[in-house]
Structure formats: C-alpha cells, structure tokens
Amino acid sequence: MERKDDLPPLARRFQESLGELAGPDQAHFLSSLGEAAEFLREARAGEEAVLWEDRPRERPFRAPLGVCRAWKAAAATGSILLLPPSREASWASLLADRVVALASLEDLVADLDELFTTLGPPSPAALVVTGSSRTADIEKQLVIPAHGPSRLDVLFLPERPDLARLREMVRS
Amino acid sequence: MRIALFVPCFVNHALPQVGRATVRLLEALGHQVVVPRNQTCCGQPAFNTGLPQEAAAVGKTLVERFQGEEVIVAPSGSCVAMVRRELPRLLPELAPLCNRFRELTEFLGKDPGVKDFPFAPFRGRAALHVGCHLLRGLGVEREPLELLRSVEGLQVVPLEADRYCCGFGGTFSVKAPRLSTAIGETRLAQALRLDLDWIVTTDPSCMLHMEGILARKRARTRVLHIAQVLAPKEEER
C-alpha cells in the first residue's frame, strides 16, 4: 500500500492518531475510486449484505459491512465527521460490524478545534467519530467493540468520492 | 539581613526542634534572627472550620507582633499561606504587613547566600513531602527539592505519590480520622516498601500527622523537617 513517508504531514498524523487508539482501526490513502472499490471488494462488499449510507433501508438491519461518507477529518485525533441525512442513513455507520468511511484529502484539517470552528449547523445531525465503539467500564480495561461497530477503516481519496459511483464499481 | 522568625504554634509547643533548626540555619547563612515575643497562632484552625471571625481575631494578635519588621520567615507553608492568602481580606489594614511573610524554603530560594553554601552532609535515603499549602497554595515546588539536592550524602528518592496530600487537612484530621489516616498511609506506602530512612517535609502539621502514622506502624522511617536537614547539627548541651 502506501509508505508512511510518502504521505503529506497531516495525512501521516491522521494515520498515527488512529493507530494510537490501540484498536483495529486504520487509515488508507488511495489514489482512485477504483482502488477504493478494490478495497471494498476485498472486504466482501460485493457478496455480503452491505449498508450504504446513501441507500438507507426502511427497517434496522445488522450487517457485516457499512459504507458512509466522511465529510471532514481531523488529523490530531484521527476523527471523522459524519453527516447522516436521516436516522436510517446513520445505520450504515452504526449497525454494521465493520464500517468503511470515504474521505477526501481536501477535507483533512489539523485538529478538532479547526473542525468545530468550520462546522456548519448540523442538519439534521453531525457526528464526530473517532474509531470504533469501545468501553473501559470494567476495571478500566479497554474493550473493543462495545455496542457499535468493531472496526473502522477510513479511505482517503485525492478528491471527494461519489458513493453511488463507487457502488457501481464494486458491483461490476 | 534581619529576619523576624514567625514561630507557628505547632512548632513552639510540639516541635521546638524545628524552630531551633530554623534559627541555626538562618544564622549559619549570616542572618540576624529576632523572635517577637508572645506569638500564639495564625488563626488557621478556626478559618479552616469556617469561623473566619474567630480566625481574624486570633490572626490579628499574631500579625501585630511583627509591626515594623521587613522580613518575616516561618518554617511552615500552611501558616504562611494563612497569613498571606487569607488574612489580608479579613484584616485589610494589616495587608501590607501580611504580605511580608515568607515560608522558609521560599525565602531560601531567593537568598543569594544559599548558592555554594556548605551544607553539612546528611546521610540517608529520603522522600520529600511538600505540604499542599506550600505546593499549590503558595506555588513553591522547586525550592525544597533543590535545597535537599545540595546536601551531600542525602539521596532524594522520588515517589509516585509525591504531589499527593498527606491527609492532615487541619481539623479534617480529627473530624474524619480514619479517612485522614488512610490518605496518609497511601502517601507513605511506597516509602515504607522502599524502607527509606526519612520523610523530609516542609510543614510541621504534615510532620505530626505522618510521624504519628509511622510511630503507630512502628516503622523505622522517621519524619524530619527540612530545616533539620539543612541546618548545622544541634550542639549537645
């Protein structure tokens, strides 16, 4: 894949931050939508039931994989911004065991301060997500997952990705 | 210079050796020590209990003994914190005088005579306990450690609980005695595991409390005031 030292500094920082969460979450830096489609095919997106954020289901459905858009990312903490247009759309990043979020390097900012000061009004919701679900409520032992996803992969593309187009490529 | 010694009530009546050590130390550094008579108490016990009127009346009596003195030093962070941080609000007309009080290590930290001073060697492994009133109340953190580090033969051992309260807390020590003791035992636990020779402290009240706990445990480790470590040895009489 990509070598750490080839990455621009913010990207490298994002990757490190996600790594510091001590979970299975990872950031990947790809050069095309095609590579993203390849990634998803390897994650069995073509075969198994997948939740796509832009094609929400009517009823809650737990799936092995969910795909969503990350509209911003913050390097200092490894956080991404989700803007689900509805509750049903949010299930793609919530009821899936493994979540793949598509982001663009253009939307990578330095830290949470920058993320929140440039954030538009949440409509209907804005979620700042850092890694998969976790708990340390029992003797402060970190356990992943808690009630939500157990793994998050953030795919960074040079330009803003189109989920519909990506879905076509995965299925073809 | 001329230094007026403020003798806290604990020192005067329970730990006079701390006062004597302070005098020896300041005189060895070339200062002239005077001790105003009839010092009683800074008023902290009452203030700590939420009785500021009584505290102010008592504090006033104490502070007025120092009228006309420029440099006032005490071997106790909690008493100096009381005088400098609390009394000025309660006794505004005495505020300038109150502001001249200094804790011993705070004073020594600014005393040019301390640099290169030939402190007598003092052997042993010790932990340093800086009282909370001195550490957080007066912001004095560096000076006590630096002073101890200039003493030949003394190994200052850093402990995990070093910035942690000893549990004395004034009237808290007798209002919640088991809690107070438990906190002290936690503070001292690692020192005991490491079998240190000394706990060196800046505050007489912490000293009484920790010494009391160690004595109850029949520990070999004893508590000393920092003045006792820095001062030349007491002459036998």
Binding site: F116, S123, A125, T130, I138, A146 | A14, G50, A182, I183
Partner: protein, 477 residues
C-alpha cells in the same frame, strides 16, 4: 447507603481498604493517561483559561441562550419543557412517555436523571427502564448508585461484576475466573473483563431495537443551531437516538453554550481529563430534524445559584470527573458517601448549593483542602477555595463554636495560651482524653510533648548571650 452525605459515611467507607484500592487502581489509569497526553503545566493552563472564558460567558448570557435554544429547537419541530425541580422533571418525562405510548425506555448515561431520581419513578409507573451504558447497566443490576460521573462502576472489581451478571442475568462467569477467595492471575482477570463486556453487548443488542423511546442526557446544548451534544465511547447513545421512536433529553440549564465553535476548546479538555483520551468515540450533535425530540431543561436550584456571586462559577463545570480522579478523599472513600448524583469536590459543592446546607452541610468538611482538584479542573473552578467558603456558611454545632471561642480567647492572650500549652506538656494524657485527641489516636500516635517550648529555649538563649539585654526587652525577645 446509610448516612449518605455525612462524615460518618466517609469514615465507614474509608474503613474498607479494598474499596479504596479498587477506586485508586481505576482512577490512577485515567490520571496517568491524562498526564501522558496533556500534563499539568502552562500548555494545559492556556487551554483551561480559554475553556473557563467560554463557560463563564455562557453563564452570563444564559437567559438569551435559553431563548435562542428554545426558538431553534421548536423551529426544527422539537419541544422544550422547563422543569423547576426534580418532581416537575420526572412528571414531564413520564407524561411525554405516556403520550408516546412507550412501555420500554432505553437510556444512555445521564447523571441528571440520577439527580432527579428518574428510574425508580418510571419503574413504579410500570415502565421498563434499560440502562445501555455498560457501567450504568452494572450498577442498575446491583441496585446501586453510580459512583463516578464518567465511570459508574469504577468501585467494582471484575469479580463483583461477574457475580452480578451471573445472579441478575444468568450469564455464567468467564472461564477460569475465581469469584471468591484469592484473585485469579491478572491475565485471567483482564480476559474476563473483556468477556463480560462482550456479554453485555450481546445482552443489550436486542434491547436497542425494542425500545419505544429513549431518555438521554446532554453534555452541552447549543443555542445557535438548536442542537444537543452527547459525548460517548460505546455508541450506545447513537443507538438510543437512532432507533426508538422518540428521544427525550434531560439537561440542566447550565449546559447551554452559544455555539458549536466552543466545542473545539471544551471537548479535548473534557475527554483528556475524564479518561485520558484526546477524543471521545463519538460526539453526537443532534437536532429535532434527526429524531423526534423533547428537551427537558432542569432548574432545580441552578438559576438561584447563578445569582450567587461567590458560588456561581460552580455552574461552569463540564462534568469531566477530573476532580474525583485526583481527590485523595474520593480515592479512599469512593463516590457513594457523597450521596446524590455528583461525587468528589464538585459533588461536595453542588449538593449543598442545590439542595441546601441543611441537607448536605457536612460535605464541604469531607476534604483535606489539598487543592489538587483546582489544579486539574478544565474550567479553573477554584474548588478547594469554594469548599472553604462554603464551610463558613454551614451551621456549626454549639459545642464546636464554644470550643473555638475558648481557643480564640486563649490565642488572643499569650500568657493564657502559654499556660494551656504548659498544661499539655505536663499532663499529655489530658489531650488523649479530649474528643480531638481520641479521634487522632484512631490511626496515629499522639505527639509527645517536648521538654520545653521553643520560646522558653529562645529566652534562655538570649539570657545566656547577654544578660544585660533584659532591660531592652520590648517586642524583641
């Protein structure tokens, strides 16, 4: 728990060394992680100054923020209810749930619902209330109060929790974990913690889908965009707000902020101080356009407290729990002796200030005033100084007042003070008989009186040096 809120309760808790050990083990991890990411020092202080400014300004503008928030929530199709006290809040929430026809209520962690005593009230009204935060679930099963505001089950060991899951949920204890007697090896215990957490995940998975309505708290309320902010790691709040038909948010009025921009300052400090995390798992900013939403804003003494110039800054608290993590009293007694929803230094202030000193007047005295809390507080509330001030407002017993009057009488008269000290030196056993003396001896030896006082030594020394100085005796000894 008996005697909650009294010094007795603290003494009883301190008498159980295993409780203190569990608490300290847990909070030490949070403090160590915090220090690794953002230790005490100038960098942290600069952030604290910013955070404090944001919170104090918000408190100042509270009435306008309240108006704007309400207008925005309503414009988005939500409803805002004002509850003057716990009773009104409970009844409002029950009314909304009944309107919704809700039978099963899922909850994400909310100390404010703890403050108003919501769960027993709803259960008595025939609803099933399911706590979905793991720590809250555990204490709910045990019929206990949460003991820490961000880590409710911090006072419990893996063995305690395994027993609870076995007894209340019929879940068999993890493989190899010894429940009674000497503990299992550390790696077995840590594996067990993981197994139990995953068992809770399985147990709750269905419940999220069964919930008719959700009751949540909020960390902050945003006035400019009409949004509630919920900070979490487990994703249980995400599930509570994305599946049931309706969301009811209960929050104290002091949670209002002018805008989301402030979150960039407040959130990193909140999470790093609470658990040592640079960022929380999820920060939810939710509006009524996302889910049908009722917001219940609780007063319960907050607005009156805002009028108190000395204590109003207590309302700036962002509920991080840092003061609990660092407090020597909390670390030895745990959270339960404080009674109520809030423990540690902030609890020792909030309970008397909101409920009245007559109900919780001993809490300010459950402190050694070490000041570590003020040092860690993200919004620079001088907690230890405020505890001291609150002591001055507390009612003092007649005996205590008399004792201090006598002490002050003596301390203003040096000859009398000297005499009293001399009596102690001569007859030390008298001290051992007094109530303070007896209390002291509970864990320590009393100091042995010295042969002579310092001032006596000083006088003698002066005489030895220059007997002629006798006639010069004035203020100088």
């Amino acid at each position: 728990m008996k005697d909650e809120g009294t010094l007795q309760a603290f003494e009883a808790a301190a008498s159980d060394p295993s409780l203190g050990e569990k608490v300290r083990r847990a909070v030490e991890r949070s403090v160590a992680k915090m220090s690794a990411h953002l230790p005490l020092g100038p960098e942290r202080d600069a952030l604290r100054d910013k955070a404090r400014a944001v919170r104090m300004e918000a408190l100042e503008e509270l009435p306008e923020l309240l108006e704007r928030f309400t207008a925005n929530i309503e414009a988005a199709g939500g409803r805002v209810h004002r509850a003057r006290n716990s009773r009104e809040a409970r009844e409002t929430i029950l009314r909304i749930l009944r309107e919704e026809g809700a039978r099963i209520v899922v909850k994400s962690k909310s100390m404010t619902t703890e403050e108003i005593g919501l769960n027993p009230f709803l259960e008595e009204a025939g609803l099933e209330v399911i706590e979905t935060d793991l720590g809250e679930l555990i204490v709910q099963l045990r019929g206990e109060r949460p003991s820490h505001i961000t880590a409710p089950a911090l006072h419990l060991s893996v063995e305690d929790i395994a027993r609870t899951f076995r007894d209340e949920l019929g879940i068999p204890p993890p493989e190899g974990l010894v429940l009674e007697g000497p503990p299992s090896p550390e790696e077995v215990r840590m594996r067990a913690a993981r197994e139990l957490s995953l068992a809770a995940r399985r147990h709750l998975a269905e419940k999220f889908l069964q919930g008719d309505a959700a009751v949540t708290g909020a960390n902050f309320l945003l006035a400019d965009c009409g949004a509630v902010v919920i900070v979490e790691n487990e994703n249980n709040a995400r599930l509570c707000t994305s599946l049931p038909r309706r969301q009811i948010v209960l929050a104290g009025v002091e949670k209002l902020l002018p805008s989301r921009a402030a979150l960039g300052t407040l959130l990193p400090l909140l999470t790093v101080t609470a658990t040592g995390q640079p960022a929380a798992g999820v920060v939810n900013l939710l509006t009524p356009r996302y889910t049908p939403m009722d917001v219940v804003l609780l007063d319960n003494g907050r607005l009156a407290l805002r009028e108190d110039p000395l204590f109003r800054e207590v309302l700036a608290c962002i509920r991080c729990g840092g003061c609990m993590n660092i407090c020597p009293v909390y670390r030895h007694a745990g959270g339960h002796p404080y009674g109520g929803a809030y423990a540690g230094p902030i609890g020792a202030l909030l309970r008397p200030l909101l409920e009245g000193l007559d109900r919780a007047g001993e809490l300010p005295f459950a402190s050694s005033l070490c000041g570590a809390c003020s040092e860690i507080c993200p919004v620079r509330i001088p907690l230890d100084r405020l505890l001291l001030e609150l002591r001055a407002r507390a009612r003092h017993g007649l005996l205590e007042k008399a004792a201090f009057r006598a002490w002050a009488f003596a301390a203003e008269r040096p000859a009398l003070f000297r005499l009293a000290a001399a009596v102690w030196r001569k007859f030390p056993f008298l001290a051992a008989l007094t109530p303070p003396g007896r209390a002291w001896k509970k864990g320590r030896e009393l100091p042995r009186p010295p042969r002579e006082s310092f001032e006596a030594w000083w006088e003698k020394r002066k005489d030895r040096e220059d007997p002629r100085k006798e006639r010069d005796r004035g203020t100088e000894g």
